[in-house]
C-alpha cells in the first residue's frame, strides 16, 4: 500500500473498492464454467484479487459469460444482468460470445452478445486458462481506473435499443422494462 495507492483510495474509494472486490455471479452460462473452479480454489486462488463467487446477482458486480450463448440461456443472462446492482461489469469468455465462434452458422446460438447486453471485456481462447482470466481481471482494473468500463451506463442510456434487439431475438419478454421509457430520450 504505497503512497499513491493511498492517494487513489482517498480520491476515488468507489473505483478502488470495485477494483479489489469483484464478486462474480455464480451462473454457469456455457462450457467455460469448467475453468472457474480451478480459478477460485487453491491452485490459482482468485481470492487474492478479491474475486469471489457471489451466491446471488444482487450481491455481485462482475458477470462472467463463459462460453457459447444459446438462445434459451440469453433470456436467463438478460434477467440476471438486470438484477445486478448498478455499477456492474461483464466479461465474455472465449470467441463464442464475440461472434459466435465455431457455432457461427448455428440457428440456435447468439452470435454477437454485445448486441443484447453491454460487454466490458473479452478474453480470447476457446476456454481461456486461469492465467488468462487473471490477466483479464487486471485489464478490468485498468479499465475501471480509466473509467472506460462504462457498460452499465451504456445499457441505461440505450436501453430502448437493447430491449428491441432482445425482443427481436427472443420474442416478447415477460418481465417489464428495467428503465421506464422516459429515461430513454433525456
Amino acid at each position: 500500500m504505497d503512497r499513491n495507492q493511498i492517494k487513489k483510495w482517498l480520491e476515488s474509494p468507489g473505483k478502488m473498492g470495485h477494483k479489489y472486490s469483484l464478486w462474480a455471479v455464480y451462473f454457469c452460462t456455457g462450457c467455460g464454467i469448467i475453468e472457474i473452479p480451478p480459478v477460485i480454489t487453491s491452485r490459482w486462488d482468485a481470492e487474492r484479487f478479491g474475486v469471489l463467487p457471489a451466491p446471488s446477482p444482487r450481491q455481485a458486480n462482475l458477470f462472467l459469460i463463459t462460453g457459447y450463448v444459446s438462445v434459451k440461456t440469453l433470456k436467463a443472462i438478460i434477467k440476471t444482468y438486470e438484477q445486478m446492482p448498478e455499477p456492474k461489469y461483464t466479461v465474455g469468455f472465449g470467441s463464442c460470445p464475440i461472434n459466435g465462434g465455431m457455432y457461427w452458422d448455428s440457428y440456435n446460438t447468439i452470435k454477437h452478445l454485445d448486441k443484447y447486453i453491454p460487454i466490458d471485456g473479452w478474453i480470447a481462447g476457446c476456454m481461456p486458462r486461469p492465467e488468462a482470466i487473471f490477466i483479464a481481471v487486471t485489464h478490468l482494473w485498468t479499465l475501471i481506473d480509466k473509467g472506460m468500463a462504462k457498460g452499465y451506463v451504456k445499457y441505461r442510456e440505450n436501453y430502448g435499443r437493447y430491449r428491441e434487439n432482445q425482443e427481436k431475438a427472443l420474442g416478447k419478454l415477460e418481465w417489464p422494462r428495467l428503465f421506464p421509457i422516459k429515461d430513454e430520450n433525456e
Partner: protein
C-alpha cells in the same frame, strides 16, 4: 350507588339493543356502541372508590356489590375490550344473519363479567359466573357446524368447574353462615389447614377450567377458532381472565398472602407454579405447529396465561405486580391480534396460514397492528410485555427458582417463533394472485387497532402509570409497597430502568438511520423482480409458507401432541360405553322388570333375616 347504575345499564342495555334490533339495525348498532362507551366512562369515573352496597337478597342471603382497586382494574380492562370489539363488529357483522342475537349475547356476557368483578359475595358471584358461561357458550356455537362441537366441549368443562365452585360455596356457607367475601376473609384465618386446602382446590378447579390451566385447557383452541372473531377477541383476552380474577380472589383476597404460602405446607404453591410452568412450555410448542391463525393465537393465549399464573402464584409482591401487569398487557395485545386476524378473515375470507401472503402492501394498518401486538407478545424492550415479563423473571431468579425461570425464558423464544410465523405467513412474502385486489381494513376496524397499539407502546415506555395502580392493589392485598417511578421499578437488586434502554435504542436507531440515508441511493422494485435463478418469478408458486417450521415439527411432533385432549376423548368414550351398558338394563318388556323387583325384595329379606346386617 354508582356500581348499581353500571350493572343496570349493562343488563338493561343488552336487552334494549335486542328489542331495538327488531326495529332497525342501524339503531341497534348505534345503541350498542353508545352503551359500551357510556359504561366505559362510568367505570372510569369510579376510579379509586371503595365501598359495599347490598342491593338485593336471595333466600335471606344479602347480595352485595363491592368495588375496590382490584375490581376496578379488571372492570376497566373488561369494558375497554368489549367496547373495542363492539366497534370492530359493526362492520364485521354487517352481512351476517342473527346479528341482534349476537349483540345481545355480547353485551350480556360483558355485563356478566362486570357483575363477577363487582360482586361482593359468592351467591351473586356464582349467578354472574353462570350467565357469563352460558352467554359465551351461545356465542361460541354461533357459526353452527363445527362450532357446536367446540361449544359443547366448552360448556361441559365449565359446568363441571362451576359444580365444584357450587360445592365450595355451600361448604363455606355451612361452616361460616355468611357468604360475604369480607366477612369470610376475617373468619377464614381460624380455619384448619386441610379445610382451607379443600376450599382452594375446589375453587381453583373452577377457575382453572375457565383460565385454561394446562391439564384442563382442551376446550380453548377449538372454542377460539370457531367463535366469530370479535367475540374470540373478547373470549381470549378477557373471559379467560375471569379465572385469573378468581385465582387472585381465592389466594389473596380470601386467604391472604401468609395463609396462602403456608397452604398444604407450601407444597400447594409449588404444584401451582409447576403447573403454570408446564402451561407455558407445551402450548408454546403446540402454537408453533398450527396452520390456522386463530388456533395459533388460542394456543398462545394458554401460554401467556401460564405466565400470569406463574407471576401470581409465586407469592412475592414483585411476582404479583408482574402477574397483574402481564394480565393487563395480555388483554391489550391478544385483543389486538385477534381483531387483526378477524379483519384479515373479513377481507380475504380465509385465515389459513398456508394460503395467505404479501398482504403488507394491501393492508398496511393491519400489519402495523399485528407488529405492535406480536412485539408486545414477545416482550421486546419498549413494549409493555417486556416490563411485565422482566418483573416475573426477576422474582423467579431472586427467589431461586431456576427451573421455572428456564420455562419462562424458553417460552419467550417459542413466542418469537410462532409470532414471526403469524407475521410472515400473512403479511410478508409474495402476494398470491387471488389476493391481488384485497381492500384495506375498513375504518371502524382501524380504530381499535390504533388505540390498542398506542396502549402497548405507551405503557412500554412509561410503565409507571399502570404500575402505580397495581402497587395499590398489592398493598391492599397485604404486600409491602414498592417504590415505582415513572420509568420502572427502582428496587434494590438490579433496577429495571426503561429510560436507559429507551435512550440507548433511540440513539442507536437514529445513528443507523442517518448512516443508512447518507450511504447512497436505492432502487425500489416490486415483488416479482425477486431473484429466481435467471428465470421470471413463477406466479403463485413462489411463496414459501406451507408448514413454515417443518423441520421443527418432525422433531417435536411425537412429544408435543395434545395428550390431554386424547386422554379426555378416551375418558368420554369409556363413559359412553359404560352408560350404554347401563341403558341395556331397561329392555322394555314387563316380565324382566317383575323379575328385578322380586330379586331385589329377596335380597332385602335374606340380608335382614339371614345376615341381619341392619
Amino acid at each position: 350507588m354508582l356500581i348499581q347504575s353500571i350493572l343496570i345499564i349493562a343488563f338493561g342495555g343488552a336487552f334494549l339493543t335486542y328489542i331495538l334490533g327488531k326495529a332497525s339495525s342501524a339503531l341497534r348498532d348505534f345503541l350498542a356502541v353508545l352503551i359500551s362507551v357510556s359504561l366505559t366512562v362510568l367505570i372510569f369515573l369510579a376510579y379509586g372508590k371503595t365501598g359495599e352496597i347490598a342491593f338485593a337478597s336471595f333466600m335471606n342471603l344479602p347480595l352485595v356489590l363491592r368495588i375496590n382497586h382490584l375490581s376496578w382494574f379488571f372492570a376497566i380492562a373488561i369494558q375497554t375490550v368489549t367496547t373495542l370489539s363492539v366497534i370492530f363488529s359493526l362492520s364485521y357483522m354487517k352481512g351476517k344473519e342473527r346479528v341482534d342475537f349476537y349483540y345481545l349475547m355480547m353485551l350480556l356476557c360483558n355485563s356478566a363479567m362486570l357483575g363477577i368483578v363487582l360482586s361482593g359475595d359468592f351467591v351473586s358471584f356464582y349467578i354472574f359466573w353462570e350467565i357469563m358461561s352460558w352467554s359465551a357458550f351461545l356465542l361460541i356455537s354461533y357459526n353452527r357446524g363445527g362450532a357446536l362441537y367446540a361449544g359443547m366441549k366448552y360448556i361441559v368443562m365449565s359446568i363441571i368447574g362451576s359444580m365444584c365452585m357450587l360445592i365450595g360455596i355451600m361448604s363455606l356457607y355451612s361452616t361460616y353462615g355468611t357468604l360475604n367475601i369480607r366477612e369470610i376473609h376475617d373468619l377464614i384465618s381460624t380455619a384448619s389447614g386441610e379445610y382451607l386446602l379443600f376450599i382452594s382446590i375446589l375453587f381453583l378447579a373452577a377457575f382453572g377450567v375457565k383460565s385454561a390451566l394446562w391439564p384442563i385447557h382442551v376446550w380453548l383452541p377449538p372454542a377460539h377458532s370457531e367463535a366469530p372473531s370479535p367475540f374470540s377477541a373478547v373470549l381470549s383476552s378477557i373471559l379467560i381472565k375471569m379465572g385469573i380474577y378468581g385465582f387472585v380472589l381465592i389466594l389473596y383476597v380470601i386467604s391472604g398472602a401468609a395463609l396462602y404460602l403456608g397452604l398444604g405446607g407450601g407444597s400447594f404453591r409449588y404444584i401451582l407454579t409447576l403447573l403454570a410452568a408446564i402451561t407455558i412450555i407445551i402450548p408454546t410448542f403446540n402454537a408453533l405447529m398450527q396452520d390456522d391463525a386463530k388456533r395459533l393465537l388460542a394456543w398462545s393465549s394458554i401460554a401467556q396465561i401460564g405466565y400470569i399464573i406463574l407471576g401470581i402464584s409465586i407469592g412475592t409482591s414483585l411476582g404479583l405486580i408482574g402477574g397483574l401487569f402481564h394480565f393487563f398487557n395480555h388483554v391489550a395485545f391478544k385483543a389486538l391480534l385477534f381483531l387483526a386476524v378477524g379483519a384479515i378473515e373479513y377481507r380475504t375470507g380465509t385465515r389459513d396460514l398456508n394460503s395467505l401472503g404479501g398482504l403488507i402492501k394491501k393492508m398496511p394498518v393491519t400489519f402495523i397492528a399485528v407488529l405492535a401486538g406480536t412485539f408486545g407478545l414477545i416482550g421486546i424492550p419498549l413494549t409493555n410485555g417486556f416490563v411485565s415479563k422482566w418483573l416475573i423473571y426477576k422474582t423467579l431468579i431472586l427467589n431461586n427458582h431456576p427451573f421455572l425461570a428456564f420455562a419462562a425464558l424458553v417460552g419467550t423464544w417459542g413466542t418469537i417463533l410462532y409470532s414471526y410465523k403469524l407475521i410472515h405467513n400473512i403479511f410478508l412474502g409474495q402476494l398470491p394472485e387471488n389476493l391481488e385486489h384485497t381492500k384495506p381494513a375498513p375504518a371502524s376496524m382501524k380504530l381499535p387497532f390504533i388505540i390498542l397499539s398506542v396502549v402497548i407502546v405507551l405503557f412500554g415506555i412509561l410503565p409507571g402509570i399502570p404500575l402505580k395502580l397495581i402497587n395499590l392493589i398489592t398493598a391492599s392485598l397485604g404486600f409491602d409497597l414498592l417504590n415505582i417511578n415513572i420509568w420502572g421499578i427502582a428496587s434494590e437488586s438490579g433496577p429495571l430502568n426503561i429510560i436507559n434502554i429507551f435512550a440507548a435504542f433511540a440513539v442507536a436507531l437514529i445513528v443507523v438511520w442517518f448512516f443508512f440515508l447518507i450511504s447512497g441511493k436505492k432502487v425500489v422494485i416490486s415483488q416479482d423482480n425477486s431473484y429466481a435463478a435467471g428465470i421470471d418469478v413463477p406466479k403463485g408458486k413462489y411463496h414459501y409458507t406451507v408448514d413454515f417450521y417443518n423441520p421443527m415439527f418432525r422433531m417435536i411432533k411425537p412429544y408435543f401432541r395434545d395428550y390431554m385432549d386424547e386422554f379426555y376423548s378416551q375418558l368420554v368414550k369409556a363413559l359412553a360405553s359404560l352408560s350404554d351398558r347401563v341403558r341395556r338394563l331397561y329392555c322394555g318388556d314387563l316380565g324382566v322388570y317383575v323379575i328385578y323387583i322380586v330379586l331385589f325384595l329377596s335380597i332385602l329379606v335374606i340380608s335382614k333375616i339371614g345376615l341381619n346386617l341392619w
